[in-house]
C-alpha cells in the first residue's frame, strides 16, 4: 500500500471531510485522552527545561560562594594561614549545629539548626527574607532570622524574641528562601541564622559537640577554584577538610534533577500511554462501526488503501488537533507545575514556555497516536466488499476477530512498543534505564490487565444465578461484543494504583515512626549532654519521675587502618571492594558493658569485659558497617580519636534495629578505653503526654541551654511534612492519570453508546421499564468502576508491600479505611461518567431510536 501517494488523493480528503461531518464531536472526544497525555508530556518537559534554565542561571548562587571548606573541628592555625594565603576578596564563616530554640513569650521550644554567620554570605544569590532588608541587617543589629515555617508553626512574628542557648535574639525577619536549599530540607531541619559574633554568648559550643565549621570564599577568578583547593590542602595535611565548589554542587543538583525529571517523565509517559490506550480503543470501536461504510466503498470500486486513507485522514487530522490542544493545555498546566516541584528544588523555578518541550511533546504524542491508530484502523483496510451482501457477523467473524496473530497489527504494535522504548532510552540517555522505564510501564499495564481479567473471570463464575436479572444483565454487559472493559480497567486502575501506592508508602513510614514510640519504648531523646551535666540531667528526669531508658556516651573518631592497610591506601586502590563512605565517614561510637534490647549478636561473641590495659580492645560492629568494610570477627581496625590511634579487634557483629527512637551505634567499645576522650552523652526517656514533653523541654532548655531535645512528635511531624511535600508531586502526576482515565471512560462510553441504544430498544420492546434499563447501566458501571478500583488497589498493595519491605525496610500495613475511600471515589466517578454518557439511552422510544444514527 502506497499510503503516501494515497494521502495526496483529493478524493480521500473530500470523503474524509464529508464523512466526519456527523462525527466530529465524537472524534474530538476520542482524542481528548491523547490531548491529556500530550499535555502531561508538554508540561513535564517544560518544567524540566525551566529547572535546567534556573540551575544554569543560578549556578553560582547554588553554593553562595566560589568555594566552601568544611570541617568537624575549628580550623587550625595552619588552615587559617592557608585561607589567608588565598587572598580572597570575599570571605565568610559559618558555624552550624543543632540546638533548641526557645520562644520565651509562649514558653515553647523546638530543635532547630543554628547557623552563626560572620561576613557577607552569600556572595552570590541572596537570602530571601521578610522584610526583604532583614538579611542585610541581621549581623549588624544582632537579630535572628527564623525559618518561615517555624514562625508560622509557633505563631511568632518579626520583633518577637527567640532564645538560643544562653542568648536572646530579636527575630529580625523570616527566612523565605536560602540559595541552594530546598524547602523540604528546610522542613527537615528548620534553620535560624544568628550573627557569628553572638555565638559565644549562646554558650552552646562545648568540647565534643556536633558542630560543623564552614568557610566560604569569593575568589577573584572563579576558574582558580582548583588551585585554591590545592593551595589549602598543601598548607596543612593533618585536618580532615571537605571542599565543595559550585561545580560539585551543580553536579549533585543535576543528579537530583535528573532523578526528579525521570520520575516526572515516568508519570508523563504513563499518562501518555493511557491516552494512547484510550485513543487506540476508541478508534478500534470507531473503525468497526465504519466497516459497513468501508465495505460499500470497496464495493463501489475504491481500493483498500484509499478507503483506509479516508478514515486514517480523519483520525490523524483529529490527532493533530488533539496534539495542538494537548500542547496548549500543557502550557497552561505548566504554569501550575513549578509550584508543585518548588519544595524539591533549590532554585526558583520560572514558568517560561519552553517551545522545544512543547514541540517535542506534541511530536511524540502525535507520532504515538498515529502509530496506535494505525493498528486500530487495520480492520478497515481489510474490510471486504462482500460485507454489502452479507450480514456483518457472517463475514466479520471469519475475518479479523479470528486472527489473533494478525501480522499487520502485531507489526504495528511492535512498532509502537519500539517507539516507546526508543523514546525512553533517548530521554533518559541510558539504554538500561530507558528499557527499564518502558519495561516498568509495560509490566504495570500487564499486571493491571491481568488482575482485571482475573477479577472479571472470578466474578463471572461467582455471580449467583439467583441474583436478579438487572444484576446479571449489568454484569453480562462487561462481556458484550466490542466491550472495552479491559481498557477502562487499565485507565482507571493505573490512576488508582499510583495514588494508593503513594498513600501506602506514606502510611507505612509514619506507622513505623509511631510504632517505634509505642508503649514502654522511649519517645524523647536528649543529646549533646556534656560530661559535667550528666548527673544534673539525670536528676532532673528523676525529679519528674521520668525513667532514663538509655544512656550512652558518644565519642567522634575516624577510621585509620583496616587490618594492615591504611585508609589512604585503600582509598587510592581502585580495585578495592570496600565502600568509600565506610572509610571516610566520621564514626560516633560509644562504650558500654552491655547490649541494648535493640541489638542482637549474630557473629562472634559479645565481650562485656573492660578493655585490657595493654593490647587491642575488643569492639562490636553493627552488621551494616561490617558488610561495608568487608570485615568479620577477628579482623583488626584502628581508629583515630582526636589524633590518638586506638587499635581494636572485632569481637562480635550485631544486628541493630535502626528504626527505634534511641541512640544506635556502628561501633561499641568496651569500657576502660574512651572515658577520657572528648565526648557528649545521649539519653532517652519516655513522656506520657505532649504537655509533659513540652514542660521537660522548657526546663531543659532553660537549665541546660546546650542540651537538645528531640521528641517523637517532632519526628512524626517532620516525616509527615516532608512526605507531604514530596507526595504532592506524585499526587499531581497521579491526577493526570486519573483525569486521562476519566477522559478514556467518557470517550469509550460514548463510543459504545450505539450498543446500549440498540440493547435498550430490544429490552424495551420486550417490556423492560426505563428504570430497569437505568439500573442495568448502573450495575454495569458499578462493576466496572469497582473492579478497576480493586485492580489498582490490589497492585498498589503489592507495590506498597515491596516498597515497605525491600526499600524502606519497615513493617507493612494496609490502611483499609483510606483505601476503601479511594476505591469508593473511583467507583462513584465511573458510575457518574457512565450514566452521564448514557444519558437518554433508556428514555427514547424504540421506534424513534430505530431511525436515529448513533
Amino acid at each position: 500500500m502506497n499510503l503516501g501517494a494515497t494521502l495526496m488523493d483529493p478524493w480521500v480528503w473530500r470523503m474524509a471531510w464529508r464523512d466526519s461531518r456527523l462525527h466530529r464531536r465524537k472524534l474530538a472526544l476520542f482524542l481528548s485522552s491523547i490531548a491529556l497525555g500530550i499535555a502531561a508530556l508538554v508540561s513535564i518537559g517544560s518544567v524540566a527545561d525551566n529547572l535546567q534554565w534556573a540551575v544554569d542561571a543560578e549556578t553560582r548562587s547554588l553554593l553562595g560562594a566560589d568555594l566552601m571548606v568544611r570541617s568537624r573541628q575549628p580550623f587550625s592555625r595552619e588552615v587559617e594561614d592557608a585561607f589567608e594565603a588565598l587572598a580572597a576578596p570575599g570571605e565568610a564563616r559559618e558555624v552550624r549545629f543543632g540546638s533548641m530554640a526557645f520562644f520565651p513569650q509562649t514558653g515553647e521550644s523546638r530543635l532547630v539548626q543554628i547557623r552563626a554567620v560572620s561576613g557577607p554570605f552569600p556572595f552570590y544569590g541572596e537570602l530571601e527574607t521578610g522584610p526583604p532588608d532583614a538579611a542585610d541587617a541581621y549581623q549588624d543589629r544582632r537579630y535572628a532570622l527564623v525559618d518561615r515555617g517555624l514562625m508560622i508553626q509557633y505563631d511568632r512574628a518579626v520583633g518577637d524574641t527567640v532564645r538560643i542557648g544562653g542568648a536572646d535574639f530579636v527575630i529580625g525577619g523570616s527566612l523565605l528562601r536560602i540559595p541552594g536549599e530546598t524547602s523540604v530540607s528546610m522542613t527537615a531541619a528548620p534553620p535560624i541564622y544568628i550573627p557569628g559574633s553572638a555565638l559565644t554568648e549562646t554558650g552552646l559550643i562545648q568540647p565534643g559537640s556536633l558542630v560543623n565549621y564552614r568557610a566560604y570564599f569569593r575568589l577573584v577568578d572563579a576558574s582558580g577554584v582548583p588551585d585554591a583547593i590545592q593551595q589549602v590542602k598543601l598548607g596543612q595535611e593533618t585536618e580532615d577538610l571537605t571542599f565543595e565548589t559550585v561545580a560539585d554542587r551543580r553536579r549533585q543538583l543535576n543528579r537530583s534533577l535528573r532523578n526528579l525529571n525521570r520520575f516526572l517523565e515516568l508519570a508523563g509517559f504513563a499518562a501518555l500511554m493511557l491516552g494512547c490506550l484510550g485513543v487506540g480503543s476508541s478508534v478500534h470501536v470507531y473503525a468497526r462501526q465504519k466497516l459497513d461504510s468501508a465495505a460499500v466503498l470497496r464495493c463501489l470500486g475504491a481500493r483498500a488503501s484509499r478507503v483506509f486513507a479516508v478514515y486514517g485522514v480523519q483520525i490523524w487530522v483529529m490527532s493533530l488537533a488533539g496534539s495542538a490542544a494537548g500542547g496548549l493545555l500543557g502550557i497552561g498546566i505548566q504554569k501550575l507545575t513549578p509550584g508543585v516541584v518548588a519544595p524539591l528544588v533549590p532554585v526558583a523555578v520560572p514558568s517560561d514556555i519552553s517551545w522545544g518541550a512543547v514541540g517535542e511533546g506534541m511530536a511524540i504524542g502525535l507520532g504515538l497516536a498515529m502509530l496506535v491508530t494505525l493498528a486500530a484502523l487495520m480492520p478497515i483496510r481489510r474490510a471486504s466488499p462482500l460485507g454489502t451482501l452479507r450480514t456483518p457477523f457472517e463475514w466479520r467473524d471469519s475475518d479479523a476477530e479470528r486472527r489473533p496473530f494478525d501480522g499487520e497489527r502485531l507489526a504495528a504494535a511492535a512498532l509502537f512498543g519500539c517507539a516507546i522504548a526508543g523514546l525512553a532510552v533517548l530521554h533518559t540517555g541510558s539504554l538500561r534505564t530507558g528499557l527499564g522505564f518502558s519495561g516498568g510501564i509495560a509490566v504495570a499495564f500487564a499486571a493491571l490487565s491481568g488482575i482485571a481479567l482475573a477479577l472479571m473471570r472470578f466474578l463471572r463464575y461467582a455471580l449467583p444465578a439467583s441474583w436478579s436479572y438487572v444484576w446479571r444483565q449489568g454484569m453480562a454487559n462487561l462481556y458484550r461484543p466490542q466491550n472495552q472493559t479491559t481498557v477502562l480497567m487499565l485507565s482507571l486502575g493505573l490512576g488508582t494504583f499510583l495514588i494508593a501506592t503513594l498513600s501506602l508508602a506514606q502510611d507505612s513510614l509514619i506507622r513505623e515512626v509511631e510504632l517505634s514510640g509505642s508503649a514502654g519504648k522511649p519517645n524523647l531523646v536528649l543529646f549533646d549532654v556534656q560530661v559535667d551535666q550528666v548527673d544534673d540531667v539525670v536528676g532532673m528526669l528523676n525529679s519528674r519521675a521520668l525513667p532514663v531508658i538509655h544512656h550512652a556516651p558518644v565519642v567522634s573518631m575516624r577510621l585509620s587502618r583496616v587490618g594492615d592497610r591504611s585508609v589512604e591506601s585503600l582509598l587510592a586502590d581502585t580495585s578495592r571492594d570496600v565502600s568509600r563512605w565506610s572509610l571516610t565517614r566520621e564514626y560516633r561510637s560509644t562504650y558500654r558493658d552491655h547490649l541494648f534490647d535493640s541489638e542482637e549478636v549474630v557473629e562472634g561473641a559479645w565481650n562485656g569485659r573492660p578493655a585490657p590495659a595493654n593490647g587491642p580492645s575488643t569492639v562490636s560492629l553493627a552488621s551494616r558497617i561490617a558488610r561495608a568494610l568487608k570485615v568479620s570477627p577477628g579482623d583488626s581496625l584502628t581508629f583515630d580519636v582526636q589524633g590518638i590511634l586506638i587499635e581494636t579487634i572485632i569481637g562480635s557483629i550485631r544486628d541493630v534495629d535502626w528504626q527505634r527512637v534511641q541512640p544506635n551505634f556502628f561501633v561499641v567499645f568496651p569500657t576502660g578505653v574512651l572515658e577520657a576522650a572528648p565526648q557528649f552523652h545521649v539519653m532517652t526517656t519516655r513522656v506520657q503526654s505532649d504537655a509533659e514533653s513540652a514542660a521537660l523541654q522548657r526546663s531543659v532548655v532553660q537549665t541546660f541551654s546546650n542540651v537538645s531535645v528531640l521528641d517523637l512528635g517532632l519526628v512524626l511531624e517532620t516525616v509527615d511534612r516532608v512526605l507531604s511535600q514530596v507526595g504532592a508531586v506524585v499526587r499531581f502526576m497521579a491526577l493526570f492519570s486519573l483525569v486521562t482515565g476519566a477522559a478514556v471512560v467518557a470517550s469509550t462510553v460514548l463510543t459504545s453508546r450505539f450498543l446500549r441504544v440498540r440493547e435498550s430498544i430490544l429490552l424495551r420492546a420486550m417490556g423492560a421499564s426505563r428504570r430497569q434499563i437505568r439500573q442495568i447501566l448502573f450495575v454495569e458501571y458499578l462493576f466496572l468502576g469497582g473492579l478497576a478500583a480493586l485492580s489498582g488497589l490490589t497492585l498498589a498493595v503489592c507495590a506498597g508491600w515491596a516498597l515497605a519491605s525491600l526499600v524502606f525496610d519497615v513493617a507493612f500495613g494496609v490502611p483499609v479505611g483510606s483505601l476503601a475511600l479511594l476505591g469508593g471515589a473511583v467507583t462513584i466517578l465511573t458510575v457518574l461518567l457512565g450514566l452521564l454518557g448514557s444519558r437518554g439511552v433508556a428514555g427514547r422510544p424504540p421506534l424513534e431510536v430505530l431511525r436515529i444514527e448513533v
Binding site: W11, M15, R18, D19, R21, L22, V296, G301, R303, L386
Partner: protein
C-alpha cells in the same frame, strides 16, 4: 463478446474442519444489454453467485469474465477498478453511506474515477429517479423507497456495463417496490446495461429475459436453455 461469462463456478467454505460447498459447477453467459434473474430458495447460493460474479469474492474454482477480463487472475484492487468502471450495484438494504447526503452518495463512484462533472451527472440522475429536491438529505432523512432510488442513481452514475441487483425490492412495500422496479428496468433499458437480478420475487424475475434457478448450489433450471436439472 459476452458481458459476463461464468464457467464451472464453485465455492467451498471450510467450517469447523468440514468442507461446505455452497455453489457447484455453475456456468452461464450473458450478452450485453440482456437481463437475467437468479432465483431460488434461501440458502441456495444466489447471493454467493452474485458476489462471485461481481468480483466481491473469489471462487474456489471456475472462472468469471467481465468485459473479457478474468476476475480470478486479478488482485482485489484490480477487481475494485473493474467494479468501479464497469459494474453497478443495487442492494436490498440500500447500502448508502449514512454520513453522506443523497447527492454525495450518488457522486461517490464518479469521484473515485476522478471524473469531472460528477456533480452535474449526479444531479441529473437524482432528478431522473424523482428526487430533485432531496439532494442535501442524509439517508436517515429519507424513506426506504427514496433511499433505494438514490441507490439506483448511484448504480448508474458511471454508466456501468453490468448491473447487479440483490433483492432490490426486498425491503419495500408493494407499491414502492413496483415504482422502484419500473425505474430499474427503465434505466437498464435506456443505458443498455446488462442486468443480473437476484430475487425471491417471481413477478420481478419474469420481467427479465432469462431466469436461472438455483437449489443447493446447483443450477436446477435455466429458461434460456430450457434445461431442468434433476436432483
Amino acid at each position: 463478446m459476452k458481458a459476463i461469462d461464468v464457467v464451472k463456478l464453485t465455492k467451498t467454505y471450510t467450517e469447523s474442519g468440514r468442507e461446505l460447498t455452497v455453489l457447484k459447477d455453475v456456468s452461464f453467459g450473458l450478452a450485453a444489454g440482456t437481463s437475467c434473474a437468479v432465483v431460488g430458495p434461501s440458502g441456495s447460493g444466489k447471493t454467493t453467485l452474485l458476489g462471485l460474479c461481481a468480483g466481491l469474492d473469489r471462487p474456489s474454482s471456475g472462472t468469471v469474465e467481465i468485459q473479457g477480463q478474468r476476475l480470478d487472475r486479478l488482485d482485489e484492487d484490480a477487481r475494485a477498478a473493474i467494479r468501479n468502471r464497469a459494474v453497478g450495484f443495487v442492494f436490498q438494504s440500500f447500502q448508502l453511506l449514512s454520513t453522506l447526503t443523497a447527492l454525495e452518495n450518488v457522486m461517490v463512484p464518479a469521484e473515485l474515477q476522478g471524473r469531472r462533472g460528477a456533480k452535474a451527472d449526479a444531479l441529473e440522475l437524482l432528478r431522473r429517479v424523482g428526487l430533485p429536491d432531496r439532494n442535501d438529505h442524509y439517508p436517515a432523512q429519507l424513506s426506504g423507497g427514496e433511499q433505494q432510488r438514490v441507490s439506483l442513481a448511484r448504480a448508474f452514475i458511471n454508466d456501468p456495463r453490468i448491473l447487479f441487483a440483490d433483492e432490490p425490492t426486498g425491503n419495500l412495500d408493494a407499491e414502492t417496490s413496483a415504482r422502484v422496479a419500473d425505474l430499474l428496468f427503465e434505466l437498464n433499458r435506456e443505458r443498455e446495461t446488462t442486468l443480473v437480478l437476484v430475487t425471491h420475487n417471481m413477478e420481478l424475475a419474469q420481467r427479465t429475459e432469462r431466469t436461472l434457478c438455483l437449489k443447493g448450489g446447483l443450477v436446477v433450471s435455466d429458461s434460456a436453455t430450457g434445461i431442468e436439472a434433476e436432483r
